[in-house]
Amino acid sequence: MKLRLAVTALALTAFGFSAFANETSEMREKLMKQAGGAMGTIGAMAKGEKPFDQDAVKTALEAIAETGHKFPDYFGEGTENLGDEASPAIWENMDDFKARSAKLAADAEAQLAQLPADAAGLGAVMGAIGPNCSGCHEKYRLKKQ
C-alpha cells in the first residue's frame, strides 16, 4: 500500500515536472516566434513585398521589446535540459545572456521612439535589431536538425 502511494507520488511529480518543462519550453518558443513574426512584418515591408504601414511597424517593435523583457524569465535553475534548442552555454554565462535580451528590448524601444516615416527607413530598423538576433543565436542557440 505504502509502496503504491510512493509510486503514485513519484508518477505525479514526474507528470508535474514534465508539464512544467513543456510550458517553459513552449514559452521560450512562443516568445521567439513572436520576435520572428515581428521581424517578418518589418522585413516584408523593407523588401517591398507589403506596403508600408507605420502602425504595423510599431506593433512589431513592441512585440520584439516584449520578447526581450520576458525571455530570460524562462531560463531558471533546473531548466537546462528540456530537449529544445537552448544551449547549455546560457547557464554558464547567464549575465551575458540576460544582458543580450535586455539590449534587444532597449534597441527595439529606441526604434519605437523614432518610428520611420516610410519604407526607406526600415533598412535602418532591420540593421539596428538584426545583429541582436544573430549575436545571441551565435552563442546560445543550438540547431537540432
Partner: protein, 303 residues
C-alpha cells in the same frame, strides 16, 4: 586516444616500416617559383571578393575584432577540434610575424597544396581541401588584396596537439588518402550560375568543411555531400543543406540567397552558431554570386 588516434598511430607506424615508399608517396609537393612566373596583373577588387568568400577573417582575425579591426589578420583565435587546439597563425603582411615576405608560389602552395613555407605539410584545419579548387588567378588576386591589409607583429602560440596529431609527417598519409581536387558532385547540364555556385561552394566558400559528414579518419563522406553533420564543437548539428534538408528543402533559391545576405530564414528565424560568421562574410559578396550559390544548392543531389 580513440579510433582516430589509433588509426593515425598505425599510419605513423606504417610510415616507419615502409619508410622509403611512404615518404616518397606522401612527400610535400609545393609549387616552384616558375609555376607562377607569368601569373599576370592582379585584380585587387576580385581579390577582396575571394577574401570574403574564403572567410579568412573567421579563423585569422583576433576573436573579438569587429568592423575594420577584422582586417588585421593577427591570429589569436583558439580553434578547438577533436584532435586538439589549433592556433591559426598571423597572416598579415608583416614581414617577420606574418607572410609579408612570402612569394605568390609559396602562398599558393599553402592554399592549394597544403604545404608550408619550409616545405612542411600543413594541417587541413586550413581548409586547403576546399581551396584546392580555387583558380590560380583568384589565388593571385587574393594574395595581392591581402598585401593591402594592415600589418600586425603578433606572434601566435604553437598548436596544442597530443601525439600522434603533432607529427606533421603523418599528414602526408592523410593527404594521400583524402586530398584531391575532384569535383565533389558531378552535375550534368549545369547552367553558368550553377557552375559559378559550384566553384564558390566547393572552393573558396568551403561550405563542405562543416556541412558534409566525415568518416573516422576525418575524411569526407563525399557520397553524402552537404548532407549535414554533428556539430564539431559539441551538441547540436550542422544542418543538411541539400534539397532534402529538413528546412532548406522547403526554401526557394531566392530564400537561400536572402538568408546569405541578411541572416534571416523565410519565417524570419535568425542565423546562429558558427554560420553567423559565414553569413557575415557572404553579405560582402555580389548579389549574383549569392544567387549562384543558391542555384547550386538547389541543383545538387538531395539527401
Amino acid at each position: 586516444m580513440g579510433r582516430f588516434g589509433r588509426a593515425l598511430t598505425t599510419l605513423v607506424v606504417i610510415g616507419a616500416v615502409g619508410a622509403g615508399a611512404y615518404l616518397y608517396l606522401t612527400r610535400p609537393q609545393p609549387y616552384t617559383e616558375s609555376d607562377f612566373a607569368e601569373a599576370g596583373e592582379p585584380d585587387i577588387k576580385n581579390g577582396e571578393m575571394m577574401f570574403w568568400a574564403g572567410g579568412c577573417v573567421s579563423c585569422h582575425a583576433s576573436p573579438d575584432a569587429e568592423g575594420d579591426a577584422q582586417l588585421v589578420l593577427s591570429g589569436g583565435l583558439a580553434l578547438k577540434s577533436p584532435f586538439g587546439t589549433f592556433y591559426p597563425p598571423n597572416i598579415s603582411p608583416d614581414p617577420d610575424a606574418g607572410i609579408g615576405n612570402w612569394t605568390l608560389a609559396e602562398f599558393a602552395s599553402a592554399m592549394k597544396r597544403g604545404v608550408g613555407r619550409n616545405g612542411e605539410h600543413l594541417y587541413p584545419s586550413l581548409p586547403y581541401t576546399s581551396y584546392v579548387h580555387m583558380s590560380d588567378a583568384d589565388i593571385r588576386d587574393l594574395f595581392a588584396y591581402m598585401k593591402t591589409l594592415p600589418k600586425s607583429s603578433n606572434v601566435t602560440a604553437e598548436h596544442d596537439l597530443p601525439f600522434p596529431f603533432n607529427i606533421r609527417l603523418a599528414l602526408g598519409g592523410w593527404k594521400f588518402l583524402y586530398f584531391n581536387d575532384n569535383p565533389r558532385v558531378v552535375l550534368s547540364d549545369a547552367s553558368e550560375a550553377v557552375k559559378r555556385g559550384q566553384y564558390l561552394v566547393e572552393g573558396p566558400g568551403h561550405c563542405g568543411e562543416c556541412h558534409t559528414p566525415r568518416d573516422f579518419l576525418g575524411g569526407w563522406k563525399t557520397s553524402e555531400w552537404l548532407a549535414g553533420a554533428p556539430n564539431p564543437e559539441g551538441e547540436g548539428v550542422v544542418p543538411n543543406i541539400t534539397p532534402g534538408g529538413a528546412e532548406v528543402g522547403d526554401w526557394s533559391a531566392k530564400d537561400i540567397a536572402y538568408y546569405l545576405e541578411s541572416g534571416f530564414t523565410p519565417d524570419f528565424d535568425s542565423v546562429g552558431g558558427s554560420m553567423v560568421e559565414v553569413q557575415r562574410n557572404m553579405a560582402h559578396l555580389t548579389a549574383e554570386d549569392r544567387e549562384a550559390i543558391a542555384a547550386y544548392l538547389k541543383a545538387i543531389p538531395a539527401h
